[in-house]
């Protein structure tokens, strides 16, 4: 996009905004307005069985002593850290192995799209079956291989449930990550590698000194999006574990949802705002450490 520093012509400005109008209108009404509305609601005591009244920062103060809330934060951050790292790692490994060619055959491409195209709700039920105590494949394999003498209740323990959630999420997003990284790798000129190989470098050296630096822009964007996505995770957890066992796998979004649907709208709004802030902070953090230019490009 060329930015030509010309004088603005009033006709053009008017035309431009007319073209932009539908999009801006929708964005303002259905995204900006609701977020502001949520902010306002969080400053009220809005409980279904009590009269509503302005309560200032009460809801936020309540958060500071809410053990479940802090548990959700810990869980969410842990989840983000583990699953984004896993997706990145596996995505990178697969991309390197498949290097230079985006999976050529159409069938492979469709296969790679399957995890991404399936609704999370559907894949969550699929994983529910796979990890199921009585009928799941995992228990079947574990027993067959003699790794345990009795079926394991994966979804019944906090660690098991966490593991199941991470695996499901990694399944869904690694193929996508792989494609993105592959495309990024494809943009690196082969000559660089050839030259480096002539100079007698090892694969590891080539990876860290050529591949990674040149992959940075793609990496940063992919990471940014994946991290924000992971912070706001809801679908997978709601369907797979419902936040259990005993609230051990409740993400922030799910925690807010639980309050919305138990009639405490004010508190739910406050939690939603916190999710917003966490996502925002992470985005700012990313942009800071990588430099704004990268992202803008």
């Amino acid at each position: 996009m060329k930015v030509v520093k010309d004088r603005y012509r009033p006709n053009e400005i008017r035309d431009a905004y007319l073209f932009l109008l539908p999009m801006l209108l929708f964005a303002v009404i259905f995204i900006l307005l609701p977020v502001l509305g949520t902010l306002v609601t969080s400053l009220f005591r809005e409980v279904s069985f009590l009269p509503s009244r302005f309560s200032g920062l009460d809801n936020y103060l309540r958060l500071t002593t809410d053990r479940h809330f802090w548990q959700s934060i810990r869980f969410t951050l842990l989840f983000v850290g583990v699953s984004v790292a896993a997706e990145l790692f596996f995505g990178m490994v697969l991309a390197l192995v498949l290097n230079e060619s985006v999976p050529g055959r159409g069938f492979v491409r469709v296969a790679v799209l399957v995890p991404w195209a399936i609704p999370i709700a559907v894949s969550a039920r699929m994983w529910e079956l796979i990890f199921n105590f009585d009928y799941g494949v995992v228990n079947f394999i574990v027993l067959q291989l003699g790794l345990a003498d009795a079926p394991i209740n994966w979804l019944g323990s906090a660690t098991g449930a966490f593991g199941a959630i991470v695996i499901s999420d990694v399944w869904k997003t690694t193929p996508f990550m792989t494609i993105i990284l592959l495309a990024g790798l494809a943009a690196i000129p082969q000559d660089l590698y050839k030259q480096a190989m002539v100079d007698g470098t090892t694969f590891i050296q080539r990876f860290f000194y050529i591949t990674l630096p040149l992959l940075r822009p793609v990496l940063v964007v992919a990471l940014l999006f994946r991290t924000i996505d992971a912070v706001r995770i809801f679908d997978l957890i709601y369907v797979l574990t419902g936040g259990g066992p005993g609230g051990g796998t409740t993400s922030l979004s799910l925690y807010a949802f639980k309050y919305y649907t138990s009639g405490d709208f004010g508190y739910g709004s406050a939690i939603s705002l916190v999710v917003f802030l966490v996502a925002g902070l992470l985005a700012v953090f990313y942009i800071r450490i990588t430099g704004f230019r990268e992202v803008v490009k």
Partner: protein, 276 residues
Amino acid sequence: MREERIKNILKSAGVAFLLLFCLLPFVWVMLVSLAKEPDFLLPQVAFDATFDNYSDVLTSGSLHLLDYLRNSLVVSAVAALAATLFASLAAYAITRLKFPGRLLIPLVLMAFSMFPQISIVGYLFKMMIGLGWINTYTGLIFPYITLGMPLALWIMLSYFSEISTELDRAALVDGATRIQILHKIILPLAAPGALSATLLVFIYTFNEFLFAMMLTTDYRARTIPVGIAFFEGLHGQIPWGHLMAVAVISVVPVILLAAVFQRKIIRGLLQGAIKG
């Protein structure tokens, strides 16, 4: 060369692993959906292939499976078309016209797309109550259009920016209006992009869950993801065969689209990553 061969082996292994990784779970789903008993892996249980699970769920009125499918298809299709349309209009302005905010607007929209849905849905729920749009198609379509616009915009921007502005200048000289230019010249050239955008927004909104769950209350407007999330049996005894049949049916539209349009889809996704 030795290294060549190792590389090739690794590559094939990698492809094989990727394929298994992506498809195996879903293959399992299909097997279970076609079996009478879900624990057929055990030696004492036979794998009775049957289509009963499918016929059961499709004919059971109280499951409303076909209603959910219809709702999903309509809502996503309309939202996808509208989002692409709006995005095309905006992309045209951004790539062809000079105005203050030209660089800012796409960025702002991208920022909007990163807002957590939970921060939006609470108040959106109240707005919909006020408008009387709870449990209606419109109540879902409008938010979905908004959710899909950033994605569509990104794709249309990259396609439009590749089309030379000379074409516009020539047409303008001939006395065409901007809308005509967009409609008759630019869009046809960017048709693959528009298709990509529509597809991606369709798939994205088809899979959407939170809004659908909070803004609808029953089969009259509810979508497939919510339908399948709520599918259950007695006290925890889930009829897995039926559930997996529902799962397969739910993803048929999306998988079909993915299969037919895989090039476009991948290209669209990559546009976002590489250009972004």
